[in-house]
Amino acid sequence: MTTKSAVPPTPSPGRARASLAALVSTTLLLTSACAVANSGDGGDAGSGAGGTLRVVLGQEPPTLEPCEASLTSTGVVVRSNITEPLIERDPTSGELLPLLATGWQQSEEDPTTWTFDIREGVTFQNGEPFTAEDAAFTIDRAVNSDLACNVDGYVFGDMELTAEATSTTRLTVTTGDPDPILPLRLSFVEIVPRTTSTEAKVREPVGTGPYAVAEWRTGISITLRRNEDYWGEAPAYSTARYVWRAESSVRAAMIDRGEADIAAALDPEDATEENSVPYPNNETTALRLDGTEAPLDDIRVRRAISLAIDRDGIVDTLFDGEADPAAQLVPRGVVGFNDELSPTPYDPAAARALVDEAAADGVPVDRRITLIARNSQFPRVAETAEALQYQLAEIGLNVRIRMTDTAAHLQYQLRPFPEDAGPVALLIMHGNQAGDAAFTASQYLLAEGPQSTFGTPDLDQRIAEADAVAGPARQDAFADVLTHQDETVAQYAYLAHMRGLLGLSPSVSYEPDPATGDELRLAEVSPAGDPRPRDED
């Protein structure tokens, strides 16, 4: 060990200065060598002048693969902008409208077969003509390939399906069993040219839509340019640019500042009358009660929970009035919506009486129930969970809250459910974007449905019967299914039909519809004061 005196070595200011200079120059070199920030006008989304529509999303799409368009973050960019389906569903009326198919019909002799007339004179953005063969290829790629497309699981499940082009303008689709809603299902399949890979998903697709992918700067922006050879009416803006900001307050600030024209999903505290418009977004919130675990296995307790929820209070104070108390899992406009159901009235006294009655019969009503909710599921979700916890405690139930992230929440949402979780009340938000209650019933109401904890053979039977019929009979049959679920099963304590808030700059004109959150049609946006699309270039 050597002992050093406290006297410092002779200072050498020259060396210190040299080190400082080296430090500064290294930093500058780093900064310039790997510059993320480039010069440009008006921020990431551009200036907005010269016909650029600037959209700010909550997150970057993981991919633009059309067969993944059922994922919200992908679909909102891809659907009806880059690619188009054969048939589109009017999000408000639910009516099916011709798009790349001009007409369709179910064979009378063989109800498993549908034929579709394919629109002529349409070309893909790469110049190839669109024919029935492309449509057959796309359906086969989405449903029968090894790509594990989201649309396959979401819309087709394990259906058997073959698609064949009998001529350039005629497509035949055959299913294993007769499927009265095949055209609705096909409205989710975004058509791609037959040259698209079947081995791997594509990040930047080619389609027939009004916009084509121009540039994707990973992490920064996606630019679409107008497809000048588009078969339909030309959209107003020559370019559309998407950027993404995770914070609602920043998205709102971008609208306020004029850095963006449209902002996805604002939180109520960031929205003002000037920067946003509310719209019904097809989402319904509810508590899913696990009917296999005491005390939730007793229907009186489940009914009591529904009676204990002050829906009006939650809607007024936590959702700022931007929601409607719900009486069923699907909103108006979906086939099967039952007009006669009304929200359970808030009646804590009656709820308390039901709980006491159950307790008297030996139901362990003091067993702790876990209320599981997901962070950022909807604005003020944590406060909603707390309000529910309080309201359930008021009727004598013992509830604890567990907030989770998406992955953990999915473990409770999907079969197989975690074991030993005890009684779970799961706060869910269900969006039926397909417009038919069959999609809700198969997931949430069947006894063995992937997102259902229990059911009854009788309800399963009714669902199967409803699924086999079409037209007005289908509406009535599913409306009956929803009533029956409430009266005999009561797996859900409904909360509200939600509304979304779309950030909208005064400089553009656009009317959001229930599908806007999943499918933001750029062609429907026009400069303010000019509702008709026009060329700006």
């Binding site: 060990m1 050597t2 050093k4 406290a6 006297v7 410092p8 200072p11 200011p13 430090l23 500064v24 290294t26 930093t27 780093l30 900064t31 060598a33 790997c34 993320v36 920030a37 480039n38 010069s39 440009g40 008006g42 921020g43 990431d44 989304a45 997150q59 993981p62 991919t63 090894d146 594990a148 989201n150 649309v151 396959d152 699981g153 979401y154 499940g157 394990d158 791997a200 990040r203 990973t218 992490g219 920064i220 922006s221 950027v243 900001r245 995770a246 914070e247 307050s249 920043v250 600030a253 971008m254 306020d256 500042r257 850095e259 992230d405 998406t406 992955a407 999915l410 473990q411 992937p450």
Partner: protein
Amino acid sequence: MTVFLRNRIASSAIPLLFVVLGVFCLARLAGDPVDLYLPLSATEEQRAEFSAAHGFDQSIPAQLWDYLGQVVRLDFGESLRTGQSAGEMVLTAFPATLQLAAVTMVIAVLAAILVGSVAAYRPNSAVDRFSSLLAMTAASIPDFWFAIVGVLIFGVSLEWLPTSGVIGGPEIWVLPIATLLIRPFGVLVQVVRGSMVAALSAPYVKVARSKGASERRVVFGHALRNATTPVLTVAGDLTIGLVNGAVVVETIFGWPGIGKLMIDSILQRDFAVLQAAVLLTAVTIFALNIVVDVAHALIDARVRQPVQA
């Protein structure tokens, strides 16, 4: 110096290995990505296929063995979310964070030395008290709050700066850097002040003054040089801590850096990207520690002395 460097590298490599193993195992305990990536109605077969395709059906030790084998070949796997190479994604995002961190730390260190030295020169003066208040405030403000309020005041109300984003002139740097800067600046001012007060009252400063050295030379030549050691150590730690700040800044300002990439890959259980990001960050921190140690040894002979003896 070579021996010193070798020993430092050897002792830093062990924590690096622990970080890699820890992230690998903990990520897998946090939940199955199958539910996130497959449609809600996916069948059991589809789930099994997905697990097999990505190796999730194997035991964690077997997965780890495969992973280590890949890492040796510099193959970091593929992102579950985007299908891109995880290594490429991380290398694309990293420079953005590096830029922010480097610029922030240079400004923080220079500004802290200036403010801290001025404060220490006349302890308990009004200037000292004001700079301490400033430093305490800066070190205590939550960066998240600061960023959002910054956007509302300078972006929306005053319209001096863009709200967010990475495309534009120098003005786009201001809010992200200010947000990242506040904490290191606040902490460093206090450290500089503390060690400068001690240094300025040391006997060698009196000797220097009695020899007739100029005040500038006394403060910057003698005192500051000796006060630098703790500043360097703390600055090194704070730079490492900037990774946390980067998550907030990159998320709010839409900066495509590694902090944002990391948080997204955690939420999406995108293991390959998470592992690559953590590995790269850990290697950087490991390299940074060595740089700090070497700088330390260059400035203070006592640090390298035991190794040479």
